[in-house]
Subunit: 601 residues, 2 copies
């Protein structure tokens, strides 16, 4: 017998009543050398695998999580992702067969440092091998195969779970349709590793640690609690801690703890530390946090590209504005790399004060839940309803053309048939939806407003949450037939820079903009000496207009000429009559739609 019993392995935390155990007969070769015999996997499932075996969703848990994602019945203890998974939830267990297993190296039923080492007949302790996220995924792959599933509808996870999702998509592209990566990055920052190092040192510095062989005696609870307290700080944000602890700074709650509780934040951390040691094994903490620190898809664009190249799935990346452990900027780096490889990818940076823990919280996962639901529903698998929410959720256009989008018709006239299109400033995806209906593909939106991004995903569109003024350098030269800039020019700071990008990214750029030299505006200005205010198109006051630039058609033409950009075709029209203007458009048209290309010298 090389395994502890399941009751031994459940020394940590409440029993998982619905968990199942499966032990592999094959030995597991580890990425960093060595191997493990007879790996036991503890897992739970929800819903039913359908006949075609194509509705399975694998959920990957974070460092301190386990297989218990949600309760199985009303009497069950709550799981850690009740907000996202369950009947009628974004990951709908009435529709999907949901699987989650305790990770390799964990302490909740799957083989880990608290299992017996067959060589020594003692628990592994600190002799448990250094494992990687890839090893964790390999164990999951064995389980999935055992369950008779050849392809997963989706793999979903946050934090360490997100690292597993990345690895699944890279190592087993043929097995993954959709990947949802939440609050994760290509590698942890040096700052993040530093916090982990201090936590591990605290564990090892505990006199009870005894080189990791403490299972017969007292556990290194002080050290593990210190590691947890420290990590917990990194899961919150400065703002969320301020809100939680500042009002009662010197009124700590009463905790029965050996740790300092002078300050309210101290009593909270003491409580968190004390509770954690009841459910977690210090050796597992060292093992799993080391695996997180070792995870590395590359420290530069080239290595990152090589790592992600094998993936073939659809991607959705969700990050949180206040997450400083796996920050939005690091998520963006992954997204940019995939975009550069013309992979199918969407991203959204959720505004949240709650830090890294946002991915576990109801209030911050609402928008994410809507996206995840729509993203899963729109995967083009047989039997799914495509373009979820397309009709029901057309938000108000934010464009200055709120009354009618006459420019859409003009844009379509300038579009090559069946072209691939990137829409820079895609809003709620209305124009891209029209293009999709007419057969254009592939399509990508770029939008800076979070709620508009959610709308795009709900329309089943690929969209990047990004600000045009922050650069589009991730998108390679000529990676789309057409790059659209529709009624966005006037809100841009770096007009010339964005125009350069339009004709770099697209073989053809199509730009529509309001002509501020339209006759009525000139006349008002000449006659009255005031910036004109009209209904609709120009209904802004001079002192609060969101417009940043006031282009005329002639100004625009000159700028193009100066930047080596050729105007291929142009349509000028009067948006009040809808008439196309052929004569002196700079005087007579109020809208311009122009097709551009870079002059190759």
């Amino acid at each position: 017998m090389s395994l502890t019993s399941s009751s031994d392995s459940q020394r940590y935390g409440a029993p998982l009543r619905h968990a199942k155990l499966w032990t592999s007969n094959d030995s597991l070769a580890l990425e960093n050398g060595g191997g493990l015999e007879h790996v036991t996997i503890c897992y739970e499932t929800w819903g039913k695998l359908n006949e075609d075996g194509n509705n399975a969703v694998l959920i990957c848990h974070a460092l301190s999580g386990d297989s218990h994602v949600v309760r199985h019945d009303e009497d069950d203890t709550p799981g850690w992702w009740e907000v996202l998974v369950g009947p009628g939830k974004p990951i709908n267990t009435d529709q999907y067969f949901v699987i989650c297993s305790n990770v390799l190296g964990g302490c909740r039923g799957t083989t880990g440092p608290n299992f017996l080492n067959p060589e020594t007949r003692q628990p592994y302790g600190a002799d448990f091998p250094v494992i990687t996220v890839r090893d964790m995924v390999e164990v999951q792959r064995c389980l999935v195969a055992q369950l008779g599933i050849s392809r997963l509808r989706a793999v979903v996870g946050g934090s360490l779970g997100g690292l597993q999702v990345l690895t699944w998509a890279i190592d087993h592209p043929q097995m993954v349709t959709s990947s949802i990566v939440i609050a994760a990055s290509a590698r942890l920052s040096s700052q993040g590793i530093a916090f982990d190092v201090v936590g591990r040192n605290a564990i090892r510095n505990d006199p009870n640690f005894a080189g990791g062989q403490y299972y017969d005696g007292p556990a290194p609870e002080g050290g593990l609690a210190l590691a947890r307290m420290l990590a917990h700080i990194t899961y919150l944000s400065d703002d969320s801690m301020r809100a939680k602890f500042d009002p009662t700074r010197l009124q700590p709650r009463t905790v029965d703890s050996a740790f300092e509780s002078t300050f309210s934040v101290g009593s909270y951390l003491a409580h968190q530390g004390d509770r954690f040691v009841e459910r977690f094994d210090a050796n597992s903490y060292v093992t799993l946090s080391t695996a997180m620190d070792l995870f590395d898809l590359g420290d530069n664009a080239e290595k990152l590209a090589a790592s992600l190249a094998p993936s073939t799935c659809r991607w959705l990346f969700i990050s949180f504005s206040s997450d400083w452990l796996y920050p939005a900027s690091a998520s963006r780096q992954l997204v940019d790399t995939l975009v550069a490889q013309s992979k199918s990818v969407s991203s959204c940076e959720i505004e949240s004060l709650a830090g890294h823990d946002s991915f576990l919280l109801e209030e911050t996962m609402e928008g994410s839940g809507r996206m995840i639901h729509a993203f899963l529903a729109n995967d083009d698998s047989p039997g799914t309803s495509n373009h979820f929410g397309n009709e029901s959720r057309i938000a108000e256009p934010t464009s200055i053309f709120y009354a009618q989008r006459l420019d859409y018709k003009m844009i379509l006239r300038l579009m090559p048939r069946d072209a691939s299109v990137v829409d820079l400033g895609s809003g709620n995806g209305e124009l891209l939806s029209i293009l999709r209906d007419q057969g254009y593909a592939p399509l990508l939106g770029v939008e800076r407003d979070q709620s508009q991004v959610v709308c795009c995903v709900e329309r089943g569109l690929s969209v990047l949450h990004a600000d045009l003024d922050q650069g589009l350098s991730a998108i390679p030269d000529h990676s789309f037939e057409v790059a659209l800039l529709s009624q966005t020019l006037q809100s841009i700071v770096d007009v010339a820079g964005v125009l350069d990008e339009v004709v770099r990214i697209g073989r053809r750029g199509i730009v529509s903009f309001p002509n501020f030299a339209h006759a009525p505006m000139r006349e008002t200005f000449q006659r009255e000496g005031r910036l004109p205010k009209e209904e609709g198109l120009y209904a802004y006051e001079w002192h609060d207009t969101p417009n940043r630039r006031f282009p005329s058609i002639l100004d625009f033409q000159e700028l193009c000429a100066n930047r080596g950009i050729r105007i291929l075709e142009a349509i000028y029209f009067d948006s009040t009559t809808g008439a196309e203007i052929l004569e002196d458009p700079n005087l007579n048209a109020d809208v311009a739609v122009v097709a551009l290309t870079r002059i190759v010298s």
Copy 2:
């Protein structure tokens, strides 16, 4: 004998060859109750106290610092602030008599937990009383009095040193001419306290801690090293750690340490931790970090105002953009409170990647050094050269009036005599300097550009480093006779909001702006249908102008009327001829200078 000998007290770190000891005969009553008898103070001095005893500068050190600010001679060991203090340095020891003492509770010669407790004849250990920053300052006050100094020219310090400066200015206003507060705030954030709590718990969890009575045995070096490693992370920044450790992430330097050194950042922290325990006492660490956490000038504006009200000194606040322990926003809160009390205050937020430690680094203290030098030189004390650098450092004006500032003359015409003035968007302080020369006082600049702020301080002006669009709510109603907004209106996003502030802050607002409805611009626009480009005033392209708004005189007048703002007087002129325009200024003038006030209903 209630004291250890000086050699005992120097168990930690290299001997301070030039340090002097002085022991008080009086007993020290502590802020939180209890007291200490015969406190010994270890201090160093540089330079000479002048005959009038008015050239003394007190430097306050940070948590892990000591009295050794700079070397006394070439053979001496370097000090911790060589960049700022010394002959010819910003705090010039040829000119000033510089004093620094080890803080109360420290371990480098001043009474602390490693001193003998007269009651028990054992070292205090963990029985050393809970002390506060106020107690530290009281000990310094005794020393300063002992040195025959009744008033300090300046008190200067960063981090814990900054907290001491704040306390000096509040508790002993009659003794402080100038206060320079660097990288400090009214209270530490809950996140910052949380890190300290974990550090102290690590010390106390060390088996060698023994309730703090470890002086006869091994010290709790593991716990203290952990606390130091953790704190060290908070002294750096995410960016600085990335730069330092990412290129060699998995190539740690070889360190002889019991701590983990798998990652380069780990080996660095191990080294930092191991070195720290050679020079620092764990009980002192607990004592001093607790004092930092307890420091609290108030958690709301009202309490903060009450705390700062007694101060009468000139203030200079320096913060660093990447400091997340005592962030710039927290420094701003102090500045805002002092501004609201019409105290003399300047502030600058230095752009730096180096985090909290910036205040110790040569590369980030250069700009600060220039400001500190100028700030000290301009304190109006007898015998100092006023308005340091006033002539030599007139930078290029950034205004669109780069050729000539005709508007200054017009502004002066609208100014009540001897008024107090705040200049919103003060640039390099040129206009304020002119006003000062004409007797206007007090004066305050507000400027968002760091290098311009430095110029203002070098001119001897009070200036706040702030962005008008971020709000001016700190400045109370009618706290200045005149609020100036000179050639800044067109770069503001929230024009109406800032105008409201102008007439709230000043009894009279004076606003100068370019008139974009000037005849040549109208004609060009009407004739050519393009935004005009001219030399000088309007020499921008439509697509890259820094101007955000394009006011005309009529538009401006209408906005004032709509917001309940009365135009008291106005001067309109043609900046090319210098002629004042009386007839149809909206057509014939290119510049407007307008005096405004709020209509009281």
